[in-house]
């Protein structure tokens, strides 16, 4: 059995998450206590590029179930892609791609693309905002959390951030968002771990940021002055500009393709030597309630253009990575807050739906189609949705564990519990086991030991003097306890925290001393 067949046959039916309620922990690492004590980050030069497709992508017209074409056609006659136009995948006759996705087709056939079918979660939410927040925060649909999975992961890897950063061990931004506002995905428990490089305080010259011209006269003079200082003091300005400046020649990208423009910057910064782990890009316009296709030719129209932009941009990016000889270091994934309804509406469009396929791309990907084509009812009704086969957090967890080589404790801490590991990454991706000093870079102001703990743990902290506040917050940011709230003289102190009555899970220690703040996670076990 070749690998592709193995993958396709492995998960034939809808999978429930491995744990639905509560929190189970299986310490696989031989010594999590030692890990926690040493607090070292994982040595890896791997980069993850996340592409957000804003609006809810119609997955059923992106990855098309050829094997049940008549049911598919029946469900969405006015927008269905003609069977003959569907792009085929080598060795995977039952599934095909939207005709605009020639780039993705060639990536698949070259073994650089994995397709994960029907990714979602239980009790799907159909609001853009909530669904986006759920995907970014990686929580259950009924749980509200104001931090993002990427931010929590980076907070585990670089727990002192931003105190003492940048430094020689990590001179670069931890995460970069190509856009004007840093998203929830990169929000850590206390600090946002990412920076936006159209951020008005920084890089107008790299990307067209959104900045109004200074008004004339005295107001303009003072505004220009503050903007200049803001630019100079953006602590990562120089490293990013220097990295970008090192790369002069890149493989061509499609013109008029905004996502391509974004990915071009990403490739440039990676090649330029940034140690940044996570990049985030986005492409909007997927909220196709009406006129998703041109009625006279369903292979054209809004959604076709979006499919083409995505496919062309990713293909150009992959070609450029290869040209720049950094293709082995980069893995990418796409996601959208939800898929769309199976049945199309009478406005030649589709309404908000549930699960949808996503792409994972890169030269180290385990190629193939994970999962089976969604089942399409023969008498489809307007309320029918595609049930999920894979929890989206399984994709995150897999990338954290098998691409970022994170330990299982870290993965559980970030995602709040265990999720099924998926065969998406070539097993050789995480072979190095070297530790680096990222975690001890920057000044450690508070630490707990043991961590994980079962009943109680000892908290050590260092104050410069004055008022000290130490809070315990749960993973939703609720205050569990104020451990310390008083004046201290400069020095090191220890307190014992008894967490016997807490339910198992992730907790955060928040330390505040004058203007200094630091947040560390603790894992409470059963």
């Amino acid at each position: 059995m070749n690998r592709r067949n193995f993958l396709s046959g492995m998960f034939p039916t809808l999978m429930a998450p491995s744990v639905i309620n509560g929190f189970s922990v299986r310490p696989v690492s031989p010594s999590p206590y030692l890990d926690a004590l040493l607090g070292y980050a994982t040595e890896t030069d791997h980069v993850l590029v996340v592409i957000q497709m804003n609006g809810g992508n119609d997955g059923l017209n992106m990855v098309i179930p050829r094997s049940s074409y008549s049911a598919y056609f029946n469900a969405r006659t006015n927008i269905a892609i003609p069977e003959s136009k569907i792009l085929t995948l080598n060795g995977k006759a039952e599934t095909g791609l939207h005709p605009s996705m020639t780039g993705m087709q060639s990536l698949y056939n070259d073994g650089k693309l994995a397709i994960v079918q029907a990714v979602g979660y239980p009790n799907p939410n159909f609001s853009h905002f909530r669904a986006t927040d759920i995907w970014m925060s990686a929580t259950d649909s009924n749980v509200v959390n104001s931090s993002g999975w990427g931010g929590r992961y980076l907070s585990e890897e670089y727990p002192n951030f931003p105190t003492g950063y940048p430094n020689s061990a990590m001179p670069d931004p931890l995460a970069i968002q190509i856009g004007s506002v840093t998203s929830l995905m990169l929000q850590g428990p206390a600090f946002n771990m990412g920076m936006s490089i159209t951020n008005p305080t920084s890089f107008y010259n790299l990307v067209n940021g959104i900045q109004d011209p200074a008004p004339p006269g005295n107001a303009g003079k003072e505004l220009t002055y503050i903007r200049t200082v803001a630019q100079q003091t953006q602590q990562y300005a120089t490293v990013i500009k220097d990295a970008a400046a090192k790369v002069v020649v890149q493989n061509p990208y499609p013109t008029g393709n905004n996502l391509g423009d974004q990915l071009k910057i990403v490739a440039r910064l990676i090649k330029g030597g940034l140690k940044t782990r996570v990049y985030m890009c986005s492409i909007g316009g997927f909220d196709t309630h009406s006129l998703q296709v041109v009625a006279s030719d369903t292979t054209t129209g809004t959604h076709a253009n979006l499919m083409k932009q995505l496919s062309d941009a990713v293909k150009a990016f992959m070609d450029d990575l290869k040209f720049l000889q950094i293709d082995d270091r980069v893995m990418g994934m796409t996601f959208s807050e939800f898929g769309r309804r199976i049945k199309s509406n009478s406005s030649v469009g589709t309404d908000h739906g549930a699960a949808a396929p996503l792409f994972v791309f890169g030269s180290k990907v385990s190629p193939g189609v994970l999962g089976v084509n969604p089942t399409i009812p023969t008498n489809v009704t307007v309320n029918d949705n595609i049930p999920y086969q894979y929890d989206f957090r399984s994709v995150y967890g897999t990338l954290l564990q098998n691409w970022f080589c994170a330990g299982t404790t870290t993965v559980q801490t970030v995602l709040f519990r265990n999720f099924q590991n998926l065969p998406l990454v070539q097993s050789a991706a995480c072979t190095t086991g070297l530790d680096d000093l990222n975690q001890s870079a920057g000044e450690t102001l508070i630490v707990s030991y043991p961590n994980p703990f079962t009943a109680s743990t000892k908290i050590s902290f260092k104050t410069t003097g004055g008022h000290v506040l130490i809070q315990v917050l749960d993973n939703q940011g609720r205050l569990i306890a104020n451990l310390v709230d008083k004046e201290y003289l400069q020095g090191k102190y220890e307190i014992q925290f008894n967490g016997e009555t807490l339910i198992p899970g992730v907790y955060y220690l928040r330390f505040q001393n004058g203007p200094l703040q630091q947040v560390k996670s603790m894992l409470k076990l059963r």
Binding site: Q52, N54, G55, S127, H128, F129, R130, T132, D133, N142, V144, S146, G179, S180, V181, L184, A190, P200, T201, I210, Q211, D212, P215, P216, G217, N218, A219, K221, E222, L223, Y225, I226, R227, V229, A230, Q232, T233, Q235, S282, G284, G285, D287, H467, L469, Q471, N482, D485, R510, Q512, G514, P515, Q517
Partner: protein, 548 residues
């Protein structure tokens, strides 16, 4: 003639011609905002609503005529640890004032100073709709003395009360009071100034920093400094009775003859118990006879405090000189000058708007006020003072420590050419400013389990149409910025933040409506709260937020 009062005694003070032309343009939200942000610490939406129903004249008259009595004194909120046994301070209960109790204990003094400074910041936070607190800061910057050097907190309390009492009063009277003020007698060594060992410290600053200034090339001599010091000999402090007094035994009773700059004035020496005040009056009459120098100096300082730091030759001619003449004509009353300045065409010119860089206190106190941030809770004075002290400390980290200016010259932002206000913003303070605004919108600050944080949703609920993302952004920008924001930038912010990348406005409207229908639903609340917080953070990270 500028500032002329009509000579008919019957109409005296009823008909006045402004010293500089009054503003006659549109009196709308932008103008009210400009005026309020310069005269208050930050502007609440309620302040804007309150004054937008009034005329410019009514607004300025209300701002410059505060009616509130002196505030209640600072309270003891500190612990007794390490205060010497038997010290009277130990008998003051938490929540009672310390200003009536003498202490000789250094620790108690230090804690009282901290209490005083916190209290002062609290007064700024809870200011009424008047210019008083901004004027108290103006005088604090003008007669800049440091609590740490004064040490005695009761003295400093009286010193601050002096500014609050004379905030909009007569400048010459204030100079007279400050000269005999206990805190000033300590800070500039007046209490050590005796006929046997004259000390020129106060005498020099009285002329150089407090009245004549250096900018206008006054040609007073070094001998004038020494001679004025002799006039001022004999003043002492009485810590037990918390007052200053004149001791004629220490006074130089000889005649004091000044240079030609002062027309060779001879202040006749006296040896009576009232010699101190009589000779002081002679000295101030002599100094204030240099009308042009003194009036120009003070009017320029007021101009830099309220309008802009750069004084062009045109401004000198058309604004400074006429207002200086008005100050002389009004016999050194400050209020008429402020009134004409704040009502002037020049004050509302585009060249005077949005060019003022917020001081750290404008930023921190202003932010708390403009978002109606509640400091919990009024009944818990210890928490209140802790929070007030925290904000004072944050402003101090941004280089403005209330009660402790850098030196007797005040903060450099108001006198140091060529940078002036720009001195507030540098590679150290700018990130601190951003961290402060981030934290106020994020986790806030907590003491005694009482948290101070911006309530983004609560704030949005006070706005006109929070369900409409366009109206919401426009109103917030109008309230917290002084520079306009283009439609394209507002659209981009709406799309990127409020709509999470979507293009249809109704997604925000739906989210807001759903929250309003079920305000206790955490998930619905978070959807709008996260986005509003991101919006406020973003707006306050922009350089525009630092201009008023």
């Amino acid at each position: 003639m500028a500032g002329l009062l009509q000579s008919n005694p019957c109409s005296l003070k009823t008909i006045t011609i402004p010293a500089i032309p009054n503003y006659t343009g549109t009196w709308g939200n932008q103008e009210v905002t400009h005026l309020l942000k310069r005269t208050l610490f930050g502007m609440k939406k309620q302040d804007l609503l309150y004054f937008s129903g009034k005329t410019l004249t009514q607004t300025v008259d209300e701002l410059i005529n505060p009616t509130a009595p002196l505030p209640a004194p600072p309270l003891k909120t500190y612990v007794n640890d390490n205060i010497a046994a038997g010290d009277p301070d130990l008998n003051i209960a938490i929540g009672q004032t310390w200003v009536d109790t003498h202490t000789t204990d250094g620790t108690a003094q230090s804690r009282r100073r901290s209490s005083l400074k916190a209290w002062w910041l609290g007064l700024q936070l809870n200011q009424d709709r008047s210019i008083r607190e901004k004027m108290v800061m103006f005088w604090h910057n003008h007669f800049a003395i440091e609590t740490n050097d004064v040490s005695n907190a009761r003295y400093y309390y009286r010193h601050v009360n002096l500014f609050r009492t004379y905030a909009l009063g007569n400048f010459k009277t204030l100079v007279r009071e400050v000269t005999m003020d206990s805190a000033m007698l300590v800070y500039l060594n007046g209490q050590l100034n005796t006929k046997a060992a004259p000390d020129e410290n106060y005498s020099r600053e009285l002329q150089e920093l407090f009245t004549l200034g250096k900018e206008n090339n006054p040609n007073y001599t070094e001998d004038d400094v020494k001679t004025a010091a002799r006039v001022l000999t004999g003043w002492r402090n009485d810590a037990v009775n918390n007052k200053s007094y004149f001791d004629v035994a220490r006074h130089d009773t000889g005649n004091k003859v000044f240079s030609s700059f002062f027309n060779n004035t001879n202040i006749v020496g006296r040896n009576t118990a009232d010699a101190g005040t009589l000779e002081l009056d002679d000295l101030l009459n002599m100094i204030f006879s240099k009308k042009a120098e003194v009036s120009n100096f003070i009017v320029k300082k007021l101009y830099r405090w309220f309008v802009y730091y750069e004084i062009t030759p045109a401004v000198e001619t058309s604004v400074i000189k006429p207002l200086a003449q008005l100050l002389v004509d009004s016999n050194w009353d400050i209020k008429p000058v402020l009134r004409d300045l704040l009502m002037s065409q020049h004050f509302f010119d585009s060249s005077s708007r949005a060019c003022y860089i917020k001081s750290p206190l404008d930023l921190s106190v202003g932010l708390i006020r403009e978002y109606n941030v509640v400091i919990p809770d009024a009944a818990d004075v210890v928490s209140q003072y802790n929070h007030w002290n925290n904000f004072r400390n944050l402003a101090s980290n941004m280089q403005q420590n209330l009660g402790d200016p850098p030196d007797v010259s005040g903060w450099k932002a108001y006198y140091q050419a060529p940078g002036f206000y720009e001195i507030w913003i540098n590679s150290d303070t700018y990130p601190k400013r951003n961290q402060f605004t981030d934290q106020m919108v994020g986790n806030g600050y907590t003491f005694n389990s009482k948290r101070v944080v911006v309530d983004a949703v609560g704030y949005a609920r006070t706005l006109i149409a929070p369900h409409d993302p366009n109206a919401l952004i426009s109103e917030i920008v109008q309230l917290i910025y002084s520079v306009p924001m283009s439609q394209s930038t507002r659209d981009q912010l709406k799309k990127d933040i409020l709509l999470s990348g979507q293009t249809s406005d109704h997604y925000w409207t739906d989210a807001w409506t759903a929250y309003m229908a079920a305000p206790t639903n955490t998930a619905l609340f978070n959807v709008v709260n996260d986005r509003l917080k991101a919006l406020l953070k973003y707006l306050m990270n922009l350089p525009e937020y630092h201009l008023i």
